[in-house]
């Protein structure tokens, strides 16, 4: 669209501007489409997600088939493009299958925490007073723990496993999302259009759903999108410690941990699962930055 506009005579530019009045989200989409870094990250992430979802249909090896004779084949071995792991399972297959649990364990906690924390924060920010004090002071207490410590402690005491890992991760993200939601809601709540709505006799739920929510959802989503990479890294970390997914399941953190003893024999194989965690986490971070810039959120 831009290239075309550049070719046109100057006098015509205003007309195209008049013809297409952009909505806020239209502007965001246009800005995003002009950000190569965000686009590349999106492509990589979509590829990883699609590969994980459709893993059974990709004609891959059985991710659980072990073989003593082909243990720790180096990457590049014919038939095993990324080599094999300590039990002779194909690493490429396991990395693709591993994305299923790793991505789920990264996504779900942020999703649930955004719903819960966002609701709590918006309520606290809009209602103010006693409700605010009750909600936000409780959040402060959870905020008083370093997040990794709290995640490890909770899932450790609960006894490990995927569900307990998800619970502990969700718990550590709720307070920060609630805090951000509360502060943006308070900012929006003091603006004139909210007062105007109130003056015209709108009900609280109308103001909340019609005016406040529309204006706070962007910043909250941007903040939450920044948490996905942290969630993926910590979730894999829990499995790395032996607190998340249990063998023989394929999951990047767990694979990294079971391959760790082979670091002296086959360092390249041992490091591969971590490369996946790193790439995914970095793409999510870059994308979150891109969204932040495109939506012009200062948070």
């Amino acid at each position: 669209m831009t290239d075309q506009a550049l070719d046109l005579p100057v006098a015509k530019t205003p007309r195209s501007w008049v013809r297409r009045p952009r909505s806020y989200w239209g502007g965001v989409a246009t800005r995003l489409s002009r950000d190569p870094v965000t686009l590349i990250c999106a492509v990589i992430l979509i590829a990883i997600v699609l590969a994980a979802i459709f893993a059974p249909f990709l004609g891959l090896e059985d991710p659980y088939k072990t073989s003593i004779v082909r243990r720790l084949k180096p990457p590049g071995t014919p038939g095993y493009p990324l080599g094999t792991d300590e039990l002779g399972r194909d690493l490429l297959t396991r990395l693709i299958y591993g994305g299923r649990l790793s991505l789920l364990m990264g996504f779900i906690p942020v999703l649930v925490a955004t719903l819960v924390g966002g609701t709590l924060g918006i309520l606290a920010g809009y209602a103010g007073g006693l409700v605010n004090t009750a909600i936000m002071r409780t959040m402060d207490v959870f905020y008083a723990f370093p997040s990794v410590l709290l995640a490890v402690a909770i899932s450790g005491v609960l006894g490990g496993g995927v569900v307990n890992g998800l619970i502990s991760l969700t718990l550590i993200f709720i307070p920060s999302i609630a805090r951000v939601s509360e502060s943006v809601t308070m900012q929006v709540g003091t603006q004139d259009f909210v007062d105007a709505a109130r003056a015209t006799g709108a009900y609280p739920h109308q103001i909340l759903l019609g005016h406040v929510l529309k204006n706070v959802i962007g910043p909250i989503l941007v903040f939450a999108s920044g948490l996905i990479s942290i969630s993926i890294v910590i979730a894999a970390g829990l499995s790395f410690l032996g607190l998340g997914v249990s063998p023989p399941q394929a999951e990047w953190g767990l694979m990294l941990s079971t391959l760790r003893p082979t670091i002296y024999v086959a360092p390249l194989n041992a490091i591969l699962p971590g490369v996946m965690i790193f790439i995914t986490s970095m793409c999510f971070n870059l994308m979150s930055d891109g969204f932040r810039n495109a939506m012009d959120v200062k948070a």
Partner: protein, 321 residues
């Protein structure tokens, strides 16, 4: 100022209370509750009741909490189930080791982060600024436990110049101990370095855009003197990030300590979890959380001392509660 410090310190009390409640509740989340590790399945009921009475498990939870709190306040965190030593004698040496690691890491992260962030802000928009931005984002994205493994592969497996795990013997000299510190410190420093660099980059960038900087330049002040003013204005927010990162490192080095078998609090917590040694888990989490709370308060007070404007800003946003 004094009032602010007092208010800030007073606010620690409810937080500390909440933290203690969570730590107390933690052991009740365990399958079978706090007695699960103490009473094996085949214990005769009479003996089990005796153990319950001895540990006070027969009383209602709020009473148990108060009894527990009284003991904790006098420094009695209970006894480790696996080693039979007091929890405090397990946690304190580990805490010291974690301090060594976190202190070194935060120092390293400060130097790298402040240098890169300031450089980026001064080279606004150029290739070097964007490269620094990319490095910083890679820094905050990296899974530390993986980075630790990569460094071990590079420096211990391939080059063979640095030890991969442990912390060295006291008697084998200062170099042996220092060499054991290098890799874990480096690993731990990368994420905070990235965060500090990003924060410093944006703070210094904002300050450079302010009018007083242009005025100073226009008045003919040499660039180095202007830089001095910029630094003075950028210090308080940077200090806040650094303090928070230090506090986070104290509690968040579990994964790195596990990778390097560094005998700190994280390593202790991890092994306690797998031995189901609930008193040690509880004690470690409590001590670490308290350090986290106190470091945060200290940062607030220091920030206030550096920059009185901070108080007004905090009052305006309502963040200083």
């Amino acid at each position: 100022m004094l009032l602010f410090v007092l208010k800030r310190l007073l606010y620690v009390l409810p937080i500390a209370f909440g933290v203690s409640v969570i730590c107390f509740t933690l052991v009740y989340l365990a399958p079978g509750g706090p007695e699960s590790a103490l009473i094996p399945d085949n214990t005769p009921p009479a003996v089990a009741a005796q153990i319950r009475e001895a540990y006070g498990f027969d009383k209602p939870p709020p009473v148990q909490y108060l009894l527990w709190l009284r003991r904790v306040l006098t420094g009695d965190f209970g006894t480790s189930i696996t080693t039979r030593r007091t929890v405090i004698s397990e946690v304190m040496p580990a805490m010291l080791n974690t301090f060594k690691l976190a202190g070194g890491a935060v120092l390293l992260a400060c130097i790298a982060g402040i240098a890169l962030g300031t450089l980026g802000a001064y080279r606004n928009g150029r290739l070097s600024d964007r490269s620094i931005g990319a490095v910083a984002i890679a820094g905050i994205s990296v899974p530390q436990y993986w980075l630790g493994m990569v460094l071990v592969v590079l420096f211990s497996v391939n080059l063979g110049i640095l030890p991969a795990t442990g912390m060295g013997e006291t008697r084998s000299g200062i170099w042996d101990q220092a060499s054991h510190l290098i890799l874990p410190t480096l690993t731990l420093a990368v994420v905070p370095a990235g965060l500090i660099a990003r924060s410093v980059r944006s703070t210094v960038g904002e300050i450079l855009n302010q009018e007083f900087v242009q005025t100073l330049h226009a008045n003919g002040l040499p660039p180095l003197r202007v830089f001095h003013h910029v630094i003075k204005n950028a210090a308080p927010p940077a200090l806040a990030v650094i303090g928070l990162e230090f506090a986070r490192l104290l509690g968040g080095s579990i994964l790195v300590e596990t990778v390097f078998s560094w005998p700190g609090t994280g390593f202790l917590l991890n092994s306690a979890i797998f031995m189901r040694d609930l008193p040690v888990v509880q004690g470690t989490v409590l001590v670490l959380a308290m350090f986290f709370v106190l470091t945060n308060v200290l940062v607030d007070i220091l920030q206030m001392a550096f920059d009185p404007r901070f108080k007004r800003a905090r009052a305006a946003t309502g963040a200083a509660r």
